[in-house]
Amino acid sequence: MDKKGSILVPLTIAFAIFTLIALLVLVFAKGAQFDKHLGDRQLELFNIYQSGEKPLYFVDEAAAKSADKALLEVAANGLKASTDCGMYDTFRLWAMGSMDGSCSPVQKSCYPDDGDSHRKYFAYVSRQNLYGYIDDYNSNPDNYAIPKDYADFELVESSGKLQLVGTANAPVVVSLVDVKTGNPAVEYGMKPSFRQDVDIDFVADAQNLVATSEQLIKKAEGDARSIIEAADNLNGLDWDEGFSYKKEQYSCTHDVGSCSCCVIEETCESGEVDPETGEFVCTKKGSSIVPVGDGTLYESVPYYLVDIPMSVKVLDGGSHRSFYVYDGAAKKVVPKEVEYRFGLDWVEAHPEDSSTFCSCGNGSPCSGLKIDEKKGDAGDAGGEEKEASYACTITCTDDSSSDFCTSTNLDGKYEVDDETGISCSYTCPSCPDGCSDGSCKESGGTIN
């Protein structure tokens, strides 16, 4: 054997031994490392997807309940979050009548279909309801936390149907924990979103309600009831035909000019000089009317304020549409009918029946003053019956007249009605001699 040929055999043997040792080491090492089942990783991924489905499903269901609850609340509030027209009892007013500073009727409209405020209101209430459910879900630490931040949360129309849609800003994060290290190995995030049909098309209902309501304004009771009867059961709406038609009389007072004010001053018609003292002694007293300046001339315009509270339910076959909600007062879940509640209000002025009166800060209206011819006996001055020349009682009926009351231009006391704030009464501070409290008018007092 030559030298070159002799190298191969020992080399082969050495290599074979090395390979066998390596084989043994690697096989046993590999066996130790093989600590997972086939498909473990894939199974974990499926589990993560499924775990993520749970909060998404909860959001879907909660959104449906939130929308139902919101419908009840929004309808009961007359589809308005707030109103500039005020309230009538517990009804939000869609229209409000009033008298302006010159006692002319003014009609203000606050209908819900003005812009998309009623859509936003519904979305807002739904969102608050949903957040309540999410809080409940997140209160369980075993659940993957659902984010509460929804930028896209709105009411949309799709294929003629109203839908509440929302997408969370942040995802629900589901973690896959590494069995060996205990650290999150994979994080899977899913943004909760929903598209929930709204069971009642309150946007279309609002249009129908407003159209009928506009016809009612300034209608007499009989005409108003006829309009409601005609609208009843149309467009799936059941109007309450037994609504109350409340008509109350008030008066509006406003400044229309000036008037003259006078006082009665005592005069001496005849007298003589006391010889002992040398002073003049009046033997016959008299009276005269003396102007003291200008007062304000007011006009009082009577008007009627009409209020109609309306209740409209949504028809569902032969009954009314209702949703189950938790009633906090009854402390149980009850079916509650969807009911649109709102009020209408307007004024009917009657300027033809208006009257005027003069109000004096000092003295009394000159036109109302008279001098009693029986007076004038100077010796009996203290016991004379004087005629009242000022008002004992006045009634104010609107804001402008409230100002009048507070002006205390009759330099007496006044009272403002705490409930309405629009009426006051003037009480005589004292009655003249021969005239008792409460009978001043009867004894000749003049209504100013």
């Binding site: 054997m1 909860f58 309940k65 209160s139």
Partner: protein, 240 residues
């Protein structure tokens, strides 16, 4: 000593060449062997999948589907039609305590299921008035059974030497309202003391959470647990 004969001039001839080829092939075999896992009973075990986890995943998906399932409008009739199983000509009735009362209550309250999903039914069942808790549990059992028990069908199971046999997938659903406390409703199958053979195997568990209308409960959420049972039903009289 093995002698490898080289060519006359000390270079590779054709025999040397093939010797190296064989040698390299053997090396490749080693490499291939090295890439295989250890062949032992443990390794064989690792080569299988984790069936219990697959079952759990299956149960999760099953529960997810169940909660979304729309309940049929003819539920009382469906319950009546599914109150028994027919195995080998033998009619076997499920045992439900207060069957008549539960079915009557369901018929009197169509709002409990009409147009609702199974999850909504669970929600609404809780605040059903004028019905005792026992009757509610019976209603729950009846509805769950009627809608979700997969009907009996011949599975061609050969292990059991029975003339006729049937395969039953029975979902056991448990509900509790809120987080704490025990499960409130149970739709457990009561197949004991029946003239049948029942060989049941556990098929995985799952839990889901649904929102509740009754917000007096804090949290206003119900936990629904599903335990899937797979079993073989057969008539003992005929089969054994």
């Amino acid at each position: 000593m093995i002698r490898v004969k080289f060519g006359k001039r000390g270079l590779f001839d054709i025999e040397d060449f093939f010797s190296f080829v064989v040698y390299i092939l053997i090396l490749f075999m080693f490499v291939i062997l090295l890439s295989l896992p250890k062949c032992s009973p443990t390794a064989e075990q690792k080569l299988t999948s984790d069936v219990s986890r697959l079952d759990r995943l299956h149960a999760e998906q099953e529960l997810s589907e169940m909660l979304r399932t729309q309940l049929p409008g003819n539920l009382p009739a469906l319950i009546e039609s599914k109150k028994s199983l027919k195995i080998n000509g033998l009619e076997i009735y499920y045992r439900v305590k207060g069957y008549a009362g539960a079915k009557g209550a369901l018929e009197a309250n169509p709002g409990l299921y009409t147009g609702l999903t199974y999850a909504q039914f669970i929600d609404r069942l809780e605040f059903l008035e004028g019905v005792s808790t026992e009757t509610k549990n019976s209603i729950f059992q009846l509805v769950t059974r009627a809608v979700f028990v997969k009907d009996v069908f011949p599975p061609h199971i050969k292990e059991l030497d029975l003339e006729e046999r049937s395969f039953l997938i029975y979902p056991e659903v448990y509900v509790k309202y809120g987080v704490a406390g025990k499960f409130y409703y149970e739709s457990d199958a009561d197949l004991s003391n029946l003239p049948i053979f029942y060989g049941g195997t556990y098929g995985g568990e799952a839990i889901a959470v649904i929102p509740l209308t009754d917000q007096s409960k804090k949290p206003a959420a119900a936990t629904v647990a599903l335990r899937v049972e797979q079993g073989v039903l057969s008539s003992l009289a005929e089969g054994s």
